[in-house]
């Protein structure tokens, strides 16, 4: 019974053009489409403006250093502040270095001088790149002046440098060592794509079966039938996950971990929980298109709830708990931990427990609904 149901479900998926597209073509399409904007991974040469109100040798040195900085592109040098404002509003620059009048005089007189560095805070990545680059420019010029002064009082240049900055701060990125944006966001989205395409495909199938009063399984609703169908849908999730974690991560050259046994366990658990969740959801739908219609817009909130792009600890407590009701929450965190961080099974125990609990709950509720499903009028197998 179970294998009959398994095969009948597969036949139903393959013979429905809409479901076929969603379950097997959608993922492949998205796997090339979604990483596309991030293929260069990092921001290079942020356009900036220099507002030089000092017009001194020192301000010209600052401008030259800004022009030479590899992550900046100086598109305008002007003494007028309104010109910089205009460039900012028309998105032609993302950062501004303001050198106030009297800067050189202050420095030569031994007074503290200030240069202002501003970035457009509404574009986070560009803001960061502009601020870091311009701050480095000012820092380099400032350090040069200071080292000359210290050099006059200390025996060696090395010693002068050590005095200038007693604590050396060394930042070391781990796991996503090139700090690429695609490598950061696409692995999480991969799991989301597997989930959303499967759920939309399943609600389409269940809706169609209800609408057309047909069901791929003959006879009464047995446990074997439920299990067979569950395994059929879970196998689709498994295939899509393998495609993403095997082919796409390799093709895009994203970091991958080596815990194969752990990955296999989480894959099976995620696929089963997702299929059980999808069956429970699918049995609520009455028309073919309703699931697609209702579920396209859920992808964004579901992704952010996973806690990849925004810390879970900063979400309201209610959401911190409710988010576990979605298979993707444990899926995204668990697969990233295994694939990108190289975690052990123990280190993803929360995710494993979460998926197990969700699987049990969804199977229990799903089985209860399954037995109450209306009997089919037409049997596709005999049709």
């Amino acid at each position: 019974m179970m294998w009959t149901a398994f095969l009948a479900t597969w036949r139903a998926m393959l013979t429905d053009k809409g479901a076929l597209t969603l379950l097997f073509v959608g993922g492949v399409l998205y796997s090339f489409f979604y990483p596309l904007p991030y293929s260069k991974e990092i921001v290079q040469r942020v356009p900036v403006a220099v507002v030089d109100q000092d017009r001194s040798a020192m301000s010209r040195q600052l401008t030259r250093f800004a022009m030479a900085h590899p992550s900046l592109q100086v598109v305008a040098v002007t003494p007028e502040l309104p010109v910089a404002q205009d460039l900012l509003w028309s998105n032609q620059v993302m950062g501004v270095l303001i050198i106030p009048e009297g800067l050189q005089t202050d420095v030569l007189a031994g007074r503290a001088a200030h240069a202002q560095v501003a970035g457009n805070g509404l574009y986070l990545m560009l803001n960061k790149a502009a601020l870091n680059g311009l701050a480095e420019v000012v820092g380099t010029v400032s350090a040069g002046i200071e080292l000359k002064r210290l050099g006059a009082a200390t025996p060696s240049a090395i010693q002068a440098g050590q005095q200038r900055s007693p604590i050396d701060f060394e930042a070391v990125p781990l796991f996503n060592i090139t700090e690429g944006y695609g490598a950061y966001v696409v692995p999480g989205v991969a799991t989301l794509i597997v989930q959303q395409t499967l759920l939309i495909g399943m609600t389409m199938l269940f809706g169609t079966w209800y609408q057309r009063k047909s069901f791929p399984l003959a006879g009464p609703r047995t446990a074997g039938g439920y299990l067979g169908m569950l395994l059929a849908f879970a196998s689709v999730a498994l295939l899509n996950c393998c495609y993403f974690f095997g082919f796409v991560f390799w093709f895009q050259d994203y970091p991958r971990g080596g815990n194969f046994g752990g990955l296999l366990l989480l894959l099976v658990l995620f696929a089963l929980a997702l299929a059980a969740f999808g069956m429970l959801l699918g049995m609520l739908f009455r028309t073919r298109e309703r699931g697609t219609q209702l579920m396209i817009a859920t992808s964004m909130p579901i992704l952010f709830l996973a806690g990849l792009t925004w810390p879970v600890s900063s979400m309201p407590v209610v959401l911190q708990w409710l988010r576990w009701l979605l298979p993707s929450t444990a899926g995204i965190q668990g697969f990233i931990a295994l694939n990108q961080l190289g975690a052990s099974l123990y280190e993803i125990r929360h995710e494993v427990a979460g998926l197990l609990a969700l699987l049990i709950a969804c199977v229990a509720l799903g089985w209860w609904r399954w037995r109450r499903m209306e009997l089919p009028v037409v049997d596709l197998n005999k049709g």
């Binding site: 290079q44 509003w89 060394e170 490598a183 964004m300 909130p301 990849l308 925004w310």
Partner: protein, 394 residues
């Protein structure tokens, strides 16, 4: 007496309204469902700034200075020292568990080196896979360390006989004042949530329009639909667009009112410009959706098309990942999305405080989308939709 067609058939607008009222979910898609999902998005990021992100510390020195560094880290609002551990292995395990997102290693000769006037190196290792967590933490950890470093340097100078003021001016001749314009605290509410609202809106607009027209095609009720519009395609399509247009313009106003009045993100630039941009966004997506259903003539296909175009649109729109860093193909796709142009308008007018003239180009582009796609969609639909061959496609 013979009834005129006007009296026989209900007006096309009343027909559409009756259909919507009879359909709980379609009505929900115009009202409470988008409000609910946008509400959840706002809730997720409602803290605005992530605070107390957990880190670990390996203090190999255990001296007065190293303990001071740890205390200062703990006092920083962005950082929570979750645990002091003994080894790299322990710290890495906490990282892989995602219990902490970075750890600081203080070397065993930390205090001795510093008191001897030499340099000591602290290492900050962080989980770069969780980029936004790590980004905020790295900034804060670096700030704390630099502050301590500056303090030590000042003390050393004071010992050499300089006055405090003299020492301060000496040790950094040109100071840098860093400003993030328009969003001083780097709030995610300003940078992300405000941009996510129209990104949700465009998904709902396209779905609502293709559903309204697509179901007539699916059910083969095009003749009745057209008859109720007295044979005018313009009127027939207008009846399909008017309810989404009203509903989503109101929703746009709702998020504008909520974020500007309740959440205090006042409109710093041209309010008229912002309002006009919102209207143009809704119109542009109505036009795009009309073209989509007219080109496919299938509800299912145009819903799949909607999923492909609108669901990943935010990734292409240049708000999170900049347009200038995209390869040409992605850039071209981004420019073909009305959302990309709208988000630039919203950013300028709402928080950057730009006068209306700075958005003229983008507004014209949005208007061109609305008119171009809308006219082409109307033409295609009027040529192709009233034929039995176009009906019943699933």
């Amino acid at each position: 007496m013979i009834d005129t067609p006007q009296q026989q058939a209900p007006s096309v607008f009343r027909r559409e309204w009756a259909r919507l009222r009879a359909d709980f979910w379609d009505m929900g898609m115009l009202s409470w469902i988008p409000v609910l999902l946008c509400g959840i998005l706002w809730l997720i990021f409602s803290a605005g700034i992530a605070r107390d992100l957990p880190i670990a510390v390996i203090d190999k020195d255990n001296s007065t200075l190293s303990r001071q560094l740890t205390r200062w880290l703990e006092a920083s609002p962005g950082i929570q020292v979750h645990e002091q551990v003994q080894s790299n292995d322990q710290a890495l395990q906490l990282l892989r568990e995602r219990t902490v997102f970075g750890y600081l290693v203080i070397p065993d000769d930390f205090e001795r080196q510093l008191l001897g006037g030499r340099q000591a190196t602290v290492q900050w290792l962080y989980n770069a896979q969780f980029s936004s967590h790590a980004g905020a933490l790295s900034r804060d950890v670096r700030t704390v360390t630099t502050t301590l470093s500056a303090g030590i340097e000042m003390t050393a100078r004071a010992k050499q006989g300089m006055s405090t003021i003299q020492a301060a001016a000496q040790f950094e001749p040109v100071r840098t004042q860093l400003n993030s314009l328009y969003n001083e605290n780097i709030s995610y509410e300003a940078f992300l949530t405000l941009a996510l609202m129209p990104s949700m809106l465009q998904i709902f607009i396209v779905i609502a329009v293709v559903t309204a027209i697509g179901r007539e095609l699916r059910d083969g009720t095009v003749p009745q639909w057209l008859a109720s519009a007295q044979g005018s395609w313009l009127r027939a399509v207008a009846a399909k667009l008017v309810f989404p247009l009203i509903a989503y313009t109101l929703l746009a106003l709702l998020y504008l009112l909520f974020f500007s009045l309740v959440r205090d993100w006042a409109v710093a630039g041209s309010l008229v410009g912002l309002l006009l941009s919102m209207l143009l966004l809704v119109l542009a997506y109505c036009g795009l959706a009309l073209l989509l259903i007219a080109a496919t003539l299938s509800l299912r296909l145009s819903l799949s098309g909607a999923a492909f175009i609108t669901a990943p649109a935010f990734a292409f729109a240049g708000q999170a990942f900049p347009l200038m860093a995209m390869p040409p193909l992605a850039r071209a796709w981004a420019e073909a999305l009305p959302l990309t142009h709208y988000l630039q308008l919203q950013t300028k007018y709402w928080l950057a405080g730009a006068p209306w003239s700075y958005g003229l180009q983008q507004m014209l582009i949005l208007a061109a989308f609305a008119i171009g796609c809308g006219a082409l969609g109307l033409l295609l639909l009027s040529r192709r939709a009233n034929a039995p061959a176009a009906w019943g496609r699933t």
